[in-house]
Amino acid sequence: MGALFSFVMVILLVLLAYAGIKAANLQIFFGVVIPYAAILTFLLGFVYRMLKWSTSPVPFRIPTTCGQQKSLPWVKQNKIENPSTALGATVRMILEVFLFRSLFRNTKAELRDGRLGYGSSKWLWLGSLAFHVSFFTISFRHLRLFLQPVPSPVHFVETLDGFLQIGAPTFLITGSILLLAALFLLLRRFLLPTIRYISLPADYFPLFLIIAIASTGILMRYFLKIDVVSVKELTMGLVSLNPMIPEKIDVIFYIHLFLISVLLAYFPFSKLMHMGGVFLSPTRNLSNNNRMVRHINPWNYPVKARTYEEYEDEFREKMKNAGIPVEKE
Amino acid sequence: MPTLEFEGKTYDVDEEGYLNDWQVWSEPLAGQMAKLDGLELSDAHWDVIRFLRDYFQKYQIAPMIKILVKEIAKTMGPEKGNTKYLYELYPAGPAKQACRYAGLPKPTGCV
């Protein structure tokens, strides 16, 4: 249900942009107003969400320790998985953010004849890493449409991306990887019963959206061969705050742009905020140095606890009879 | 709250049939509890129950089996001071069954 709903939503978005351009000639709306609104929503929303999280304190230092603690000098500490310094915690975060360290550990449990076995299961790790790395690379490559002159790192990445040197325009591998990885993530949700069971519309929607974005991108580049110079005119107009609508850009471009705008605007209100959130995760970004440095809880308040005096008052006679020393005779 | 009816009186017990208040206990009540389990209490049973009650009176907790065994061995001889003997008397476990007949609550925590 969730999947069908999300699929229909994305189709509707595509049709909306198509009709908007083809029937209503709303180029300015789809080429200028929506993108600006989307970017603004994305930036402000993102900042708002991060600030909102930041208003809740981290009252306790609760890292999940995944390796040997720092203890006796001859015991080898796992300085990354159980960091005791900020440096260790930083390295841990870098591994987490860029290489999905925790997901790399993934196993698959199997029950056979009443016995549980655990196999290494790296597909989810591989799929999501491929997804994220290609998404990032593609975004970075798109800077060629937003900067003039195009800086050399952008060229460099594109050259790497096109290292297969197939066809013209050169086949860029990340586009297909993104599409395949997104399809893989989607298929998981369809085919694995447990994952299907937990999936919400909010899980399918961004996947369909990204699949649509990647597909329209691939269509534009390899099949419809839209006029990239005009596209860049439009994008440069946007980023230089001199928006303009060049003539004769194919409608597919407006669909692509509209879907990206939707993704940007949707981002801060969705689970996609894991991008910012992962940095704040207290089980990962803290070092396990509790026994060396006292962690302060800003809302720590005094509680009424039972004191020794109350305790002795209740048990004084019994204590004395048992020969246990007391404060008051 | 579950209750136990006996000789016209109603006793509050917990979900597993332990008396909520160990002081309302009486010997006939213990006999009745055993009878409901299909068990006739012999002198050997009563020795254990009395020891449990004495211990509880002093320490406000039922003794752990180890201490029970040791004390029984001290007073009744080593041939009775073993877990096997106690389990023969109380097949469902001395800690659980005997404590229940003795009207004592079940210990809780990391046990």
Partner: protein, 538 residues
């Protein structure tokens, strides 16, 4: 009481979720899965809300009129107080990596025991009241109202989580279901919805300082009984002290070590070791409990129960604290204690009086784990050990969840075991260290009425033990946690008969050659040493 299925029946688990969506499927309370509701007297004893007689299985939970309001206000308050909570409500992408990492899911196949879904039970409520999308889109955004059915479901599944953090190891964002369960239980406690087995120890602990409700003279008599046993076994009379001012070290261990077998043998091991070292230490009858069932109730309750630790250290004017083998006690000490009750300027950085090792990694908490303490002694060759006394044992080591994932103490106990036993084998790597499986009974779930749940939750652990039992003939499962010692015993009897359970310091006590001891003929369990028996039979 519910009848426990046989291991054969129980190990047939179906992991395929039903077709019907979970949102519309109310929790079905299965016998043997849930614990009795708390009795009013326990709540009254510690001033917690809504004390009354109630039964989880009944339809009337006798909730206050405005229970929704209380629940939601509590929810809002905790979102403001805990970044972990707010963040973990927001950022889950439902990738499902956590699903088959949970021992309760692996043991029950109940989809709501997948950590992601356990959290979604609460997240769905969060979305409805605290997010724009949930308010606008409702069900489409995965939001749902807090109804009585939802509350029942939250209760049922909050007490089917042992807060073991295994899911958190695999989560790409480190989402820790324990944090969510802890707060879910706090919210339930606002309505008086705890379990009897958790609340009883809390009430006891407040009054007497320990979960079992052992009064000061009882503690002394129990320890004296152990002293007798030690004398019988070794011929050495040791003289522990209680509430002695001016001792160098305050020793604190979970009260399970004082009361339940096999914890008591571990306790004897501690005392024999301390005697042999001539350690200047004291027991406190008030701080005779490191465990803290308050952690399974609410932050405030946990803090109240932890107060005695530093208060007694201060009153008795000791220099530092030595902590026994306990799982959640060490999580509490490592992650909460000093934040609650520090600073600890009245104590000194711990120094081993035997080896001179300065434990400067605990310069602020000022508490040393006994495994660290003993490992240091062994490393410096300060103990005369005869590991062959443990030759009748083939030992494996179970990492306790809390010390594994809330602290990271892996090598120290292993170093000890390797030096006091000749036969030590590890369980498969996906089931030890940070990937260790819970005993299935942690976080206050070790009651009697939920035995099926416990046996199911402990299935992955038992399964790994079974593996080494079969391959190496393992007959002893060592650990450093009192709940483990209490819970693994029935678990082994159920799944892997023939495997006993012990604390690491029981093994130390067996192997320790004490000055002036008589020739030992029995183990600390007063069972004949097999080799001696064999010799006598020749």
């Amino acid at each position: 009481m519910a009848k426990l299925p046989t291991p054969d029946e129980l190990s047939k688990i179906n992991y395929k979720p039903p077709e019907k969506r979970w949102v519309n499927t109310p929790a079905e309370f299965k016998d043997g899965f849930w614990c009795f509701g708390t009795r009013p007297k326990y709540l009254q004893a510690v001033d917690m809300p809504n004390p009354r007689e109630w039964k989880p299985i009944e339809d009337d939970w006798k909730l206050p009129e405005n229970w929704k309001e209380i629940f939601l206000e509590g929810f809002a308050e905790r979102l403001k107080k805990y970044r972990s909570f707010r963040l973990f409500m927001d950022i889950c992408v439902r990738c499902g990596a956590c699903a088959d990492k949970c021992h309760f899911f692996l043991g029950t196949g109940d989809p709501k025991n997948m950590p992601v879904l356990r959290a979604e039970l609460l997240r769905s409520v969060y979305r409805n009241y605290f997010t724009t999308s949930g308010k606008l889109l409702g069900k489409l955004a995965g939001a749902r109202e807090i109804t009585f059915d939802v509350l029942r479901e939250l209760w049922y599944y909050a007490f089917q989580c042992t807060e073991c953090r295994r899911c958190s190891v695999f989560c790409p964002y480190g989402i820790d279901t324990a944090e969510i369960t802890i707060i879910c239980r706090e919210l339930l406690n606002l309505l008086g919805l705890n379990t009897d087995w958790t609340m009883g120890p809390v009430a006891n602990c407040y009054r007497t300082g320990n979960h079992l409700g052992l009064e000061p003279h009882t503690i002394k008599s129990i320890i004296e009984s152990m002293v007798e046993d030690i004398e019988t076994i070794t011929g050495i009379k040791i003289e522990p002290t209680f509430n002695r001012k001016g001792a160098e070290i305050l020793f604190i261990t979970p009260s399970g070590d004082l009361f339940g077998d096999p914890g008591t043998y571990t306790c004897m091991g501690y005392m024999m070791l301390f005697h042999e070292l001539g350690l200047n230490y004291t027991w406190s009858t008030l701080a005779a409990e490191g465990g803290n069932f308050g952690l399974f109730t609410s932050n405030e309750m946990a803090k109240k129960l932890a107060y005695k630790i530093y208060a007694e250290a201060k009153r008795l004017k000791v220099k530092w604290i030595l902590g026994g083998e306990c799982g959640h006690m060490w999580r509490v000490w490592n992650q909460y204690l000093e934040t609650w009750h520090g600073p600890t300027d009245f104590l000194e950085t711990p120094v081993s009086p035997i080896t001179g090792t300065k434990f400067d990694y605990t310069s602020s908490l000022k508490a040393v784990h006994i495994a660290e303490f003993t490992a240091d002694l062994i490393k410096h060759g300060k103990l005369n050990l005869n590991p062959s006394r443990n030759d009748y044992l083939k030992v494996t080591f179970h990492d306790s969840c809390n010390t594994a994932r809330g602290m990271g103490i892996f090598e120290e106990p292993r170093h000890i075991i390797r030096n006091v036993c000749n036969h030590f084998y590890e369980m498969p790597e996906n089931t030890i260290r940070e990937q260790t499986f819970c005993c299935g009974s942690g976080s206050g779930l070790n009651a009697g009425e939920n035995m099926e749940l416990r046996m199911r939750g402990g299935f992955p652990r038992a399964n790994a033990v079974k593996h080494v039992h079969k391959h190496y003939g393992i007959n002893m499962l060592a650990n450093i946690c009192a709940i483990d010692r209490a819970a693994l015993k029935p678990l082994m009897d159920y799944w892997v008969p023939g495997v006993e359970v012990c604390g690491v310091h029981e093994l130390v006590g067996n192997a320790l050659v004490m000055k002036g001891e008589k020739e030992r003929t029995t183990t600390l369990r007063s069972e004949p040493l097999p080799e001696k028996e064999a010799k006598e039979n020749v």
